[in-house]
């Protein structure tokens, strides 16, 4: 029995239990309690398996190579199906299973009034299993299979509320472009197989760098574009906006927190392992360029939105742009800050989508121009939303600040080290994007939670405890990861970065000690041990302490001078002095609509915004064309520079 509890089996358990849960819910899902128990149980086991692996993989630095049916490589070729878990896989596995767990807890009450709930849970668990399988898989063909599973599950979930306006359209767009991406991955896989006669990821990583030819370069372009569609980076960002706008909030959490991470994971594996091209400055340029365009373009697109969830969708891609930029720097600080931001992105974005879901659940709309003043009706949701908003806008001491701040330092450090003034521009774009993100969330706060409450929402209530609990978990993690960046660095990002910079240990763990050295010869990258350090000076805990003391001092002064004895409205009697000041007729008063805020900024950028408006036509043909153009450009880039 103890043999089954050996931790080397945990990766396969964590994938299997999700698929098993999916099938069990199909069979037994009629009963409401039973299906909730099955769903929560399977995601909890999956999460527990991942947490149990922290000690051997993250702390002891082991790489788990797991051959299904014990079909170990024979005759120099890895034929069997393999799973391989190094610190990088585990890092993504951890944040995925956390997001899936919270999303499932939230779903129980959030989806209670929908139809076809068994199908919902089945698809949700299929999606989760697909992404888990993708990040834990050790061979590239299984990665493709998992990509297919997660794409179709995500498409079906996008259209789950198919009576919502635009849901089917969004799902159809996603289906077409997503399938183009999957097809690209398949084609790339086939070309790699034709070249290297193996599908095992570790073996491919050993063979490909030494045997570059035109077809492997084309394969890289295909795989890169394929994973780009999964991460929704430019030019695939319009799909994300549509999909998030239509999908239930719990699914948006998965699409933004989990699906995009699978794309980022694929790109990291591709550039750091399979082709080991990240050392080339041209490749750093490719990733940083796409990252910066995604970052800036999507944050400006978000400023122009007037739907809560579409706005969040664009911000999601903008933050993924940060991750891609940082990862593309190919420095230790850059990579650690990039994946740190990936972790934080899952947490704060999940929190924000759940808050949007709570608003939608209670009011039935996410239109920023219609909402307002909900903070009095939904105080807890407001506080949780604000934590998420401060995190994503990088306000100290929340987690978004910690990781973004490391990204700024990494970018500027890179600029100085490489002597390339272009990276200064990257730093400036990162910093400006951050303040534009803040502006966008001020807009949401003003037009959803603060401002004036429309009369039709007089009877809105706070959401149920289960939904607040799910948001609370995310909020707590947002604060903790922001306050203890050194712990996150030590136990999560540093091992993962070390894994990324040591492709040879990944290869050796799979195929036997010394394989990488003998197969790769001169192409073997030098082993690098990443030591976590912060590039600048910032200690959030002592800041918080000082802030608390000052706050306390001011509060004491304020209270002793009777600051708290305020004249608020007492029950029943209305006094004119408690009314708002309108300087004239109240009747002509109208609140500044969400989409009209910041017009001083928008006015100066009106040509840019109208250009962007025309560009994002919403027509599927255009977006499919963008995908083709993107593929052609990346192929051209590969053939020219490599």
């Amino acid at each position: 029995m103890s043999n089954f509890m050996n931790y080397i089996h945990f990766p396969i358990y964590s994938v299997m239990v999700l698929f098993l849960g999916a099938f069990l819910i199909v069979v037994l899902g009629k009963n409401k309690t039973l299906r909730s128990i099955i769903a929560v149980l399977s995601v909890s086991i999956s999460l527990a398996c991942m947490i149990a692996l922290i000690k051997p993989v993250m702390v002891n630095g082991e790489v788990i190579a797991y051959w299904m049916g014990n079909r170990v490589p024979a005759g120099g070729y890895a034929i069997g199906i393999a799973m391989e878990v190094d610190a990088l896989s585990l890092f993504f596995g951890l944040l995925i299973s956390t997001a899936v767990f919270v999303s499932t807890v939230y779903s129980i009450q959030y989806m209670a009034h929908d139809e076809n709930i068994p199908q919902y849970y089945t698809l949700l668990l299929m999606l989760a299993g697909g992404v888990m399988g993708l990040v834990l898989s050790g061979d590239i063909f299984n990665m493709f299979i998992m990509v297919e599973i997660l794409t179709f599950a995500a498409v079906a979930l996008t259209a789950f509320r198919n009576r919502v306006f635009g849901a089917l359209e969004a799902a159809f767009k996603y289906l077409v472009v997503g399938c183009m991406g999957s097809t690209c991955i398949l084609a790339g896989t086939i070309m790699l197989y034709a070249n290297a006669h193996t599908l095992n990821f570790a073996q491919l990583s050993a063979i490909i760098p030494g045997n570059m030819n035109t077809s492997t370069k084309i394969a890289f372009a295909l795989l890169f574009v394929g994973f780009s569609t999964k991460a929704f980076i430019v030019p695939f960002h319009p799909l994300a906006a549509d999909a998030h706008g239509a999908a239930p909030a719990s699914i948006s959490v998965l699409i933004s927190g989990v699906l995009t991470k699978s794309g980022i994971y694929g790109i990291i594996r591709l550039t750091y392992f399979l082709f080991q091209t990240m050392g080339l400055s041209t490749f750093q340029f490719l990733l940083v360029f796409i990252g910066c365009v995604s970052m800036f373009l999507c944050v400006t697109m978000a400023l122009a939105q007037h739907d809560f969830k579409r706005l969040l969708a664009f911000h999601s891609i903008s933050q993924i742009g940060y991750v891609l930029t940082a990862v593309g720097l190919f420095t230790a600080v850059g990579f650690s800050s990039g994946i740190y931001h990936a972790l934080n992105h899952t947490l704060f974005k999940g929190l924000l989508f759940l808050a949007a879901g709570a608003v939608l659940h209670e009011t039935g709309t996410t239109n920023l121009d219609e909402l307002g003043g909900l903070s009095k009706k939904m105080p807890h949701t407001t506080v949780l939303f604000l934590i998420g908003a401060f995190s994503i806008s990088g306000i100290p001491p929340f987690n978004g600040f910690a990781s973004k701040w490391m990204i700024y330092q990494a970018c500027y450090q890179k600029a100085v080290e490489s002597g390339n003034i272009g990276y200064v521009l990257v730093t400036v774009i990162c910093l400006v994007t951050s303040v534009l993100t803040l502006a966008s969330f001020v807009k949401v706060s003003q037009s959803v939670f603060f401002g004036r409450l429309p009369e039709k929402y007089e009877n809105v209530k706070e959401v149920s405890f289960g939904m607040r609990l799910a948001m609370g978990i995310f909020a707590l993690l947002c604060v903790l990861t922001g306050l203890f960046p050194d712990l996150v660095g030590k136990y999560l990002t540093q091992p993962a970065a070390t894994a990324a910079f040591n492709a040879s240990s990944y290869i050796d763990a799979m195929l036997g000690e010394g394989y990488a050295a003998s197969a790769m010869g001169p192409f073997l990258p030098a082993a690098q041990n990443v030591v976590f350090y912060e590039a600048g000076v910032w200690s959030p805990m002592s800041w918080l302490l000082i802030m608390c003391i000052v706050l306390l001092a001011i509060t004491i002064v304020a209270v002793t001078s009777k600051y708290d004895r305020v004249s608020a409205v007492s029950s029943g009697e209305a006094d004119a002095k408690h009314a708002l000041f309108f300087s004239g007729e109240e009747a002509v008063y109208s609140q500044v609509g969400g989409s009209d805020l910041f017009w001083g900024f928008k006015h100066n950028w009106r040509h840019y915004f109208s250009f962007m408006h025309d560009l994002h036509s919403g027509i599927l043909n255009d977006y499919a064309l963008w995908a083709v153009v993107d593929l052609a450009l990346v192929m051209l880039f590969m053939l020219i520079v490599l």
């Binding site: 990088g394 450090q413 603060f450």
Partner: protein
């Protein structure tokens, strides 16, 4: 025993110098001097220099009226949080070679900490639900965006210029910037840093919201915007915050560009520091306040992102090539 003494010393830093009490007195004094100078420039007699302090205590005695539709918690908490954040920033800015809490924040952190007071004011205003506050906070946010780009460029230029000399590539630590200046003389003497210093001086009125960059307050137009619904003690705290903000930004300028002029004696250094703050306030804030009219918000944005950012960018490029 030494732990207790250290704790008491730290508490002294936080509450007295350069913390709470120092911020209160110097901020109010700075504000009073500014008002007096503006009045003299406009051929008025002007209020006594202690007038902001009288105003503060008078407002404290007034009734605090919370609007019926406001979110009371946010409405009352926002001014306190904003003030606390400002005091904390003041603690992280070195007074020449003296820093109350070294190793707690670098220049990029201060850039982001500076957002907190503005944000607190925005959320407090949003919580009132007033239409004037809505317009005011929209403009305030655009002002923040406008000032952010020049500030970022100035900070990167300073980091690079100091990094060149120290030899570690790039330095954002306030401590290193201070000790560099103590050794090599203040940064303002470097020709490449002069455009950046001018750009920083031009962002001070934008950050503090004085003429011509006061579109967010605009008393005559939108009734002080974000403060429209505030009264009594919260309003007093806001007035204090505005005064402290002027002190914070001017002392940040002194720390970045005029460092190294201190004597080493804390009290004397504090006085010299404050003297520089007064000079900058008179030369930049008061002069512009008295001689210009309010810009429209889109003009403000354009001005900062072209003229001021351009100046800062010149410095950055010069510093980049080691001048």
């Amino acid at each position: 025993m030494s732990v207790i003494v250290n704790a008491l010393v730290d508490l002294g830093y936080i509450l007295i110098f350069p913390g709470f009490l120092f911020c209160f007195l110097c901020g109010m004094l700075l504000c009073g001097i500014e008002r007096k100078i503006v009045a003299r420039m406009q051929k008025r007699v002007g209020p006594p220099i202690l007038q902001p302090m009288y105003d503060f205590f008078k407002l404290c005695g007034k009734e605090t009226i919370v609007p019926a539709v406001a979110n009371k918690t946010v409405y009352l908490l926002a001014p306190i949080v904003g003030l606390a954040a400002l005091v904390v920033i003041q603690l992280f800015i070195p007074v020449f070679n003296f820093t109350a809490f070294s190793g707690n924040a670098d220049i990029i952190v201060i850039l982001y900490l500076l957002l907190i007071p503005a944000l607190a004011e925005i959320f407090g205003a949003a919580a009132t639900g007033s239409p004037f506050a809505g317009v005011g906070l929209s403009r305030e946010m655009v002002t923040i965006i406008s000032c952010e780009l020049p500030l970022v460029l100035v900070f990167l230029a300073v980091g690079k210029a100091v990094g060149n000399a120290v030899g570690s590539g790039v330095v954002f630590s306030m401590q290193t910037i201070a000790s560099y200046q103590a050794e090599h003389g203040c940064l303002l003497l470097k020709p490449s840093m002069i455009p950046a210093a001018i750009a920083f001086l031009l962002t001070i009125p934008g950050e503090t919201g004085t003429h011509p960059f006061d579109a967010a307050e605009a008393e005559t137009e939108i009734c002080e915007g974000m403060l429209a619904e505030y009264s009594g003690k919260p309003l007093a705290v806001y007035k204090l915050s505005h005064a402290v903000k002027m002190l914070t930004l001017t002392s940040l300028f002194v720390a970045l560009f005029l460092g190294g002029l201190g004597t080493g004696v804390i009290l004397v250094d504090g006085l010299i520091n404050f003297f520089f703050c007064v000079v900058i306030t008179i030369c930049v804030v008061a002069l512009m306040d008295a001689s210009t009219a309010r810009l429209k918000i889109e003009q403000l944005f354009k001005y900062y992102w072209t003229v001021v950012s351009g100046l800062a960018a010149i410095s950055l490029v010069l510093a980049w090539y080691g001048l």
